[in-house]
Structures are given as C-alpha cells and as structure tokens.
Symmetry: C2
Subunit: 346 residues, 2 copies
C-alpha cells in the first residue's frame, strides 16, 4: 500500500468509528431514556370522561368563556393564556375581583397526564379542577355553582351546545358537565416535543448539548422524581430534601404544601412533582413563582433536592435538554373559537 | 298552440320576469348602497405608520403581551378578546388592578378605518390609543411610560424584535414605537363580510331579509350617520337627537360625551358614531353597554335618533342586515402568537 492510500484508509476508519460510536451512544442513551420516560400519547382520554367531538368543542368554547365568572373577567384562558403556553407569566395568578391566588398557575398543556392536579394535589383530575375553579374565590369567584350556571344558561347558544354534548339529560348545564367538557378539551391538549421524537428513534431530534443534558438528568438523579410520560407529574415529593427550599429560592413566604391539606407531618413541604413538559416556556418557576429563569431553577433543584452544586456547563446542558421538552401549541388551543353571543335574540 | 304548451309559456314568462325583476331590484339596491358605503380595503395602512412585516409581527406579540401592564394582568387582548370578536362582553371593561373603565370597549377589528378613536374621539388614531393605554389607570395602569418600557426591556427577545421593527434607532423600546407596532398590527385586522361581497356584485351574499334590512337602513335614515367603509366611524353625532338617550337605554349614569373633552355646549351628549362592522358579535351596546341585545339596540336608535317606532318585521330585517356585517376573524388575530419567555437566560 502506498502511504497516502493507507493514510486515507486510517482516516476513513477513524471517522467511521466516531460516527458508529456516536450512533451507539445514541442507542444506549435512548434505551436508558425509554426505561424511565414515555412518549406522549395521541390524547389523554379516560374512561371516566369519554372524548366526544361535541364535548371537546363545547369544552373549548367554555375554556375561553369569561362570562361565567363573578365579574365577567375570568376565563380559563385568563390565567392559562395560549400566547404564554398555557400560563400567565405571573408568580401567582390574579383572578376574579383582583384576588391573588396562593400559588403559581401551571400550564394546562399535557396537564391531564398528571396523577393529581394543583400543587398540593387537592384536585383529583382536570375535570375536578375545572369544576371547583368556578367557586374558588381567587379563580372564577362565583358565590355558588348555580349562579355560575345561571350566567351560562342566559347566553343563547349554550343550552343547545350542552344538550348536544350531554345527550339524554334534562338539564345538562351543570357544574359537573362544565368540568367534564373542559376536562375533555384539556385531555386533547398534548404537545409532542423533540424529546418525544428522540424517544421514538430520531437521533437528530436532540442537539449534542440536549443529549448531554438528558444523560446528566438521568445520572445525577433528577429522574428519580421527574420521570414517566410527563417527565414529572406522577408523584408527591418534599421540596427541600437536603436543604430548606426557601433558603435557595428566596421565597417570601413558607408554604407548608400538602401538610395544609392532610395535616400529616409527613406531608410538610410536600408538593406534587410538576411535569417538566414545556418548562422552558413557562417561567417563573416553583409553586410560588419565586425563581424567574430556568437556569436558576435548575441550580435550586440540584442544590435542595440532590445536594449538588452544578457547573455552568452542566446547567447549560440540562437547560438544553429541558428546552427539548417544548412542544408545538395545539391548533385548537392557539386559535380562539368564536363564542356564542347574545346579539340576535330580542 | 295547444293549451298545456301555452300555459307553460305563460308560466315561464312569469318566472322569468320575477327573476329579472329580482335581479333588477338587486342592481338598484347595490347602486344605492355603493353611493353611501364602501367595501373594506385589504388593510388600513397609513403614510404615518407604514406596515412592515417586522413591525406588524412585533405589534401582534405586543397585542397579546400582559407583562407591560402594572400588575401583569392586562394585555390588549384582555379587553379585546379574539374569542369575543375583539371585545370583552362587559358593559364597561375592567382593567389593571380591577379598575372600571368609564365606557364600553369597542372591537379592535376594522378600528383603523375610524376617523378618531374612543367614544369621545379623544384618541387621534389606533397608534395614539395604544400608546396612551399604557398609562391610563383603568387600562394598563402604569405610573409612567418609562416603567412600562422597563418591563418590556427586561424580557429577552424584545430588544431584538424592536430593533428589527424600528431599524436605525438607538433605543427603539419606546412608548411611541409600542403604539406604532400595535397600530400597524391593528391596521391589518380587516374582516370582509357578506355585505362587502354584495357591494362587490354577489347578489347571493345577502338573504332577502338582509336586503330588506339594507333598504330600510338607507330609507329610514340610519345611513345619515352610519355610512362609508365602516358603516359608521366617520363623524360625531349627538346621542339622543329626538329624545334623551338615557330614557330609552335605561342608563344608570348620564355621560355628557364629548362635552367633557371640549367643554363646548354643542358637544353635549355627542359621541363618535361607532362603526357597525361585526356589531352582531359585540354586545352589549352603546358607550355604556346599557343595552344587551341587537334588536333592542336597533329599537333604541330608531326612537332616540329618528323618532320612529319600528315594527317587529322592520327590526328583524335590520338585524339581518347588521348580521351581514359580521366578517371572518383574521387568522393572525384568532391565533395567538408565541410570546418571548425569559426561560433560557441565566
């Protein structure tokens, strides 16, 4: 063999083994990831509340409907705005009559995959959450379910729409059906992301930095809580396992979390582990919105949950991975429906 | 000729003359209408604020942006919701810190065709309106323009977006440019309706009832004020020419209208004549939202402006005509943009 040819051969072999090595690394990373995460399903249907087109479309109208609130200013979309990925960008939401909510508004996107709703798990499902919001003072603020339903009943169009969505009921405009319709709509709001594409076999869906971040996320222990289809949303955990959370977040108030729901000392500072889907699009962070940026939130979590101080490079990679959880806004969420008006009735 | 054939011929001639008579009537109605109305243009561009793609897109983001308000709850879209055809369905809007606005929020759709903005004409243009809203207490509620701009400047993404929309300026994040960007976006929000199709020559665009309503609208005098491309929005007029308006509307307060702006006795109870485009989609009606339905509003107008009591049939026809002014929501309005987030910056 002449020298240039031998050199080319060696070079070719080297490139090949690098490429094959990279591919093997991707396969190995994917296998590890598939063990702890799952790609998003097509929807989040449940046997308790079957998704019919009439129910989902009614739920979509009701999601954008402010006229069922006590002062006419609050719809689901007020605190869960499409333009802000289903959040309001506030540390704590402000609802009916300008009342402050006790905690940060999480995104409604992919919310149906969580095992319970609300930061303290005191709502069992998206349906339960939507129904009880009607009478929560800092949410829709109505004095009773009946007063909220009376407002809806007075808007021409809704009686027919409810009757179609809930056939065979004498009076279908009820708070339970309000929750079922909005819940059904919410169960359609899935946001498949580059990470799902990677899980399904597309090596190019994640950048090298995101892949490094995913590796870290699994290695350093984030995955202990943030796992499954929601990358979180599947269990409760104490916020501040290693260190009091408020020392790292600078929170102005100490929230006792699930303890205030159960009075069980084991629940002190326990919250639902939030799903991290679309987390890059939904600052500020934590139950009290006390941290403004994702890199800062990542540092806080490593410190108070895992007792680790991350390097700048680790933070950047983890943020790249978390950004790969940003999906596409569903069309039926980004695009507002045309609500019924009272115009044509005398 | 045998009898059946003769009968057929007579019948054919009769149908033909009815059809031709109807066509002639349509032509005549269209000619009358073209004398007083105009079809919507493609956009509402102005030499003062040229529509560039970068400016319009920035304006669209800012339209949906709540973070520039004093409490983070008010965007243009809060009181001018896409799902409610650019209104909030309230008699009077509720803005920052739950402050009540003095008057009803008109739709932003086609608003740029009006000769002035606001019910009393105290905003010269959509740009002027958008800028001044930043510091109006019941609107965005900021203590100063500078404090509002500081909020925008702190959101990664906006400095670049403003620089692109307003090239060659050292600091382009200004209240004036906020108004220009939102104004440019608003000037793209046109909603061509069945009435525009009729004006352009499509006889089938209007129902017989809508055609009868259009004829009445011109004959009984509505057109004296509601004319031009906006079917209104081109002049001032006293509300209550024949009779005090509050006696017909049941308004709880008497608004002196433009008088409070100019102190000119000739301006007592004078308001801008609103554009009637999309009027069927934007209850409640009048400057104070005192009337809930369109038929009731039509009766009030006939009574206090023209001294007429309309029959039920006349009201129904007029409402049919007004419903033909409902256009299609522009895609860039119905669909929310993805706002910049603070996520990825450390």
């Amino acid at each position: 063999m002449n020298r240039p040819f031998a050199r080319s051969l060696i070079l070719f072999g080297g490139v090949l083994s690098i490429v094959m090595g990279a591919q093997a690394a991707d396969v190995s990373l994917r296998t590890q990831a598939q063990n702890v995460f799952k790609a998003l399903p097509k929807d989040m249907a449940t046997a308790d509340n079957p998704l019919t087109p009439a129910k989902v479309e009614l739920g979509r109208l009701l999601y954008f409907e402010p006229r069922a609130s006590v002062d006419g200013t609050v719809s689901c979309a007020r605190c869960h705005q499409p333009a802000l990925f289903g959040t309001d960008a506030l540390p704590k939401s402000i609802g009916a009559e300008h009342r402050l909510n006790p905690r940060n508004a999480p995104s409604v996107l992919d919310a149906g995959i969580q095992f319970v709703q609300h930061w303290r798990g005191d709502r069992t499902s998206v349906e339960d959450q939507a129904t009880k919001a009607l009478i929560a003072p800092p949410s829709f603020g109505n004095p009773s379910y009946e007063s909220a339903m009376a407002k809806l009943r007075a808007i021409p169009g809704y009686p027919t729409l409810f009757a179609r969505a809930f056939p065979g009921q004498t009076d279908s405009i009820t708070a339970e059906n309000w929750g079922k319709a909005i819940g059904a709509y919410m169960r359609t709001l899935v946001t498949p992301s580059p990470f799902d594409a990677f899980l399904a076999g597309d090596d190019r869906a994640l950048s090298p930095a995101a892949k490094a971040g995913l590796q870290s996320f699994m290695q350093i222990g984030c995955v202990g809580c943030h796992n499954g289809v929601g990358v979180g949303g599947g269990l409760y955990q104490k916020f501040g396992l290693v260190e009091d959370y408020w020392k790292a977040t600078g929170s102005s108030n100490i929230d006792k979390g699930r303890f205030d729901v159960t009075q069980d000392p084991a629940d002190l500072y326990v919250f639902k582990v939030p799903s991290l889907r679309n987390v890059a699009m939904t600052p500020p962070y934590f139950h009290d919105g006390s941290v403004s940026t994702l890199p800062a939130a990542v540092r806080v979590m490593a410190r108070v949950q895992l007792g680790r101080t991350l390097t700048d490079g680790e933070v950047a990679d983890l943020v790249s991975f978390l950004e790969s959880l940003t999906g596409r806004l569903p069309d039926d969420f980004a695009t507002a429906p045309r609500l019924p008006t009272a115009s044509a009735k005398p």
